[in-house]
């Protein structure tokens, strides 16, 4: 007769082994999922850091400002490192630039040098935070707009002799008036644009190309189409700005 304790022990061995097997079967998949989840969380943290530290000069959506270059563009993701003959790849290039800053301006027109951000070089960010920022910037890659094509695109022909006239026609023709009121005419789904020129040309351009960048209080995000960058050329947009300017000045 075998001791019951040996039987209980053997049963426990079986239970422990099945537990280990149960964990081991899923372990490889779990690790892949964990990797993705951790990357997702890194992008989330990077978004908060970018908004806090980088957006002031590079724009809230990396569109660039007169103070610093555009990051959210096809050129940046496809050609930037080749043009610089940097061999470490784009993520390493971004990390290097964020961590160490730029001792020399890439364009003399910028008012300041890119500062150093890593604590290793006297900046405020830890290296894990810099990794998060890199992951966030790299996350633009998929939808980055082709700004060069946009700039060189043939303008959509719009009737009118002056920019103001073409802008006024475009405001009707492109459908803006359905939602936006101007000079007392138009819809109320979006904000009144009679005095929008006071907010500046950059604001207008950003709002047309990236309607969710700034959502005026009291209005919903994601109502305005986000593809005007594809249908309007630079010249079209400048015409619209000229039209807004003329309306604003006539008030």
């Amino acid at each position: 007769m075998i001791d019951t304790r040996i039987l209980v022990g053997l049963l426990a061995v079986l239970i422990a082994l099945s537990g280990v097997v149960f964990i081991a079967i899923d372990d490889a998949d779990r690790r892949v999922e964990f990797d993705e989840a951790f990357h997702g969380r890194s992008v989330e943290n990077g978004a908060a850091l970018f908004t806090e530290y980088c957006a002031e000069c590079h724009g809230l959506h990396g569109e660039g400002t007169p103070r610093a270059p555009t990051l959210n563009s096809k050129y940046f993701f496809e050609s930037r490192v080749q043009d610089l003959r940097f061999e470490g790849g784009l993520p390493a290039y971004i990390k290097l630039t964020v961590a160490g800053g730029r001792p020399v301006k890439s364009d003399p027109a910028y008012p300041e040098n890119m500062p150093t951000w890593s604590q290793d070089f006297g900046g405020p960010l830890r290296n894990d935070q810099i990794d998060n920022v890199v992951n966030y910037i790299m996350n633009w890659e998929e939808g980055a707009p082709d700004l060069e094509a946009l700039a060189s695109a043939e303008p959509t022909p719009v009737p009118g002799d002056t920019p103001e006239e073409r802008g006024a026609n475009l405001f009707q023709g492109a459908g803006c008036v359905a939602c936006h009121m101007i000079d007392g005419v138009g819809g109320a789904v979006g904000p009144d644009l009679t005095n929008v020129y006071d907010k500046g040309e950059d604001y207008i351009k950003e709002s047309i190309l990236m309607p969710n960048a700034v959502v005026v209080e009291g209005f919903q995000a994601n109502i305005m189409p986000q593809n005007f960058g594809d249908t309007l050329s630079d010249e079209n947009i400048n015409d619209l700005v000229a039209y807004f300017k003329s309306v604003s000045e006539s008030q």
Binding site: A12, A16, G40, R41
Partner: protein
């Protein structure tokens, strides 16, 4: 024919092949198993009486190093489950689990603030069964604290610390302290927010000590704040000094038990308060080989199986975001086994409640056997001692409750509201909403008709209730509150989630009851892949 140096072949010709091989097996087995023959080993496994005289099992205990540490037998009464609950055995077992899993984790860990957190991520995302090892290590640590504490309570309530076992008790209190510090020093190593702030609070308690507090804190942390030096010091404490002290004191503790006084018998037996046949049964000898060893191995495996099942089903070692010395989390709590200390700190002066009183408590713990001269171990003769023990246990529970964030300290209502739904660390209700159900738009608790369908809508309804609850609380300076959630598309697979709490309040220092508008905004970003449940 006798060939010198060829004993095997000589006996082959003398005794035949079967006998010779049999003898050789017997000889080898005895050499390996400290004198136990194959036949005897079989009898051991089957729980049968010894096959030779003198008893080869006793001889094995003299010859074998591992066995010589053990006594030859226990009295049956001291092996009754209801007397010891195997708590000392389990404490040792968990220590061994910690050593083994700890050694494996050490291979993948570097004690430096730059890489420690990434090493944790690597263990979780790249090392085969790395999460299993980490979970086992963490679970073993918590179970070890529980087992050691319960072991101590058992010894106290059965009066087993009394003469002649006073010194054994003393080494036991040292082991309790070592266990607590082992667990606490391991807390810092993942270098996440949880680790950093729990240890910052813990070491700042040392700072409150009179005269040398500043120096102790400095020695532990390696500088004013915990940094590279502090992490390395905690690491060395955790993997070297404290385990060394533990091994030395476990040895002393066990040597006292096995060689000097054995495990105590139940008090009623020792003091002849039980029926004679029960006393006779309790004093019967139970041999280590095979009875106790069989029983011990069974308990080890049961404990191991229990741990594996816990890890496979619900237990998961937490890992928060990277340590950030500049950002104090909203509700920082000590590890649960130090919550009573955190609770005491809320009572008043840091030096008195954080240092002086705990020192007195542990001093008294050490001194219990010397302060309690009563010879009887029976509970009915120790009414004062037993009541004191029960009061202490209840106090520990109450103080621990006071130590949690549930008692005393709380942030302004608006901050707590956001924390309730989207905590700074961990998952929370909002992060559990499937990414696709995070509908783009703005939704406010003022206007329930705007709620989207699905889980977000349900959470909005819960927010509505929470806001009403906070607005209704008389002790809150929070009136007519509302919560607004704005969700915007932000990037590929990334949404921006802004929560705004608006309310009216009586301005600070104002004497009139005039209300003023106030606002609290907090922004989060949610990525499609960030499976928070997985990170928990």
């Amino acid at each position: 024919m006798d060939i010198p140096g060829m004993g095997f072949f000589n006996s082959l010709s003398e005794k035949g092949i079967k006998q010779t091989i049999g003898d050789k097996i017997d000889e080898t087995t005895r050499a390996v198993l400290a004198g136990i023959s194959p036949k005897e080993a079989r009898a051991l496994l089957r729980g049968e009486p010894p096959t030779e005289k003198p008893n080869p099992r006793y001889r094995a205990q003299v010859k074998s190093f591992m066995l010589h540490i053990r006594p030859k037998f226990y009295q049956e009464g001291s092996t009754w489950f209801s007397h010891t609950f195997r708590l000392g055995l389990l404490s040792t077992f968990f220590f061994v689990v910690e050593v083994i899993t700890g050694l494996i984790l050490m291979v993948y860990y570097t004690p430096s603030p730059d890489v420690a957190y990434y090493d944790m991520i690597n263990i979780l995302s790249n090392v085969n069964m790395g999460k299993f090892m980490r979970d086992m290590h963490r679970l073993g640590a918590e179970l070890m604290v529980i087992a050691v504490s319960l072991h101590m309570a058992r010894v106290f309530f059965t009066g087993a610390y009394k003469h002649p076992r006073q010194f054994t008790w003393l080494t036991g209190v040292v082991l309790l302290l070592v266990t607590l510090f082992l667990s606490f020093s391991g807390y810092l190593l993942p270098w996440d927010q949880l680790a950093y702030w729990a240890v910052t609070i813990g070491t700042s308690m040392a700072e409150a000590a009179p005269l040398f507090g500043y120096q102790v804190n400095l020695i532990l942390r390696g500088s004013q704040d915990i940094g590279a030096g502090g992490l390395l010091r905690f690491y060395l404490l955790h993997v070297f000094l404290l385990p060394l002290v533990a091994i030395v004191f476990i040895s002393i503790h066990y040597y006292k038990v096995s060689r000097e006084h054995s495990i105590s018998l139940p008090a009623a037996i020792e003091e002849n308060q039980a029926p004679p046949e029960k006393i006779a049964a309790a004093k019967r000898k139970v041999d280590i080989l095979p009875d106790l060893i069989t029983s011990e191995i069974m308990w080890y495996i049961i404990a191991l199986a229990g741990m594996v099942i816990a890890v496979a089903t619900f237990f998961s070692a937490p890992l928060e975001t990277h340590a950030d010395p500049l950002k104090t989390p909203l509700h920082t709590t000590a590890p649960w086994y130090f919550l009573w200390l955190q609770g005491m700190l809320k009572l008043g002066d840091k030096t008195l409640w954080g240092v002086v009183i705990p020192t007195i408590i542990f001093g008294l713990l050490f001194a219990i056997p010397y302060l309690d001269p009563g010879p009887s171990r029976l509970a009915k003769n120790r009414k004062f001692g037993v009541s004191l023990g029960i009061i202490t246990a209840v106090m520990l529970v109450v103080l621990s409750y006071m130590g949690t964030g549930l008692w005393g300290v709380s942030a302004p209502p608006a901050v707590e509201l956001v924390q309730e739904f989207i905590p700074e660390e961990g998952v929370g209700k909002v992060r559990m909403i499937p990414w696709d159900q995070m509908t783009i738009g703005a939704f406010t608790t003022e206007n329930p008709t705007t709620y989207p369908s699905g889980e977000l809508g349900e959470i909005m309804r819960e927010m509505e209730e929470a806001v009403e609850r906070e607005s209704a609380r008389p002790d809150n300076n929070f009136f007519n509150g509302r919560m607004t959630v704005t969700i915007e598309p932000w990037q590929t697979d990334l949404k921006k989630f802004t929560t705004t709490v608006n309310w009216e309040e009586i301005p600070e220092g104002s004497t009139s009851n005039e209300l003023q508008d106030a606002e609290f905004v907090k922004t989060f970003y949610f990525h499609r892949d960030s499976n928070y449940e997985l990170l928990e």
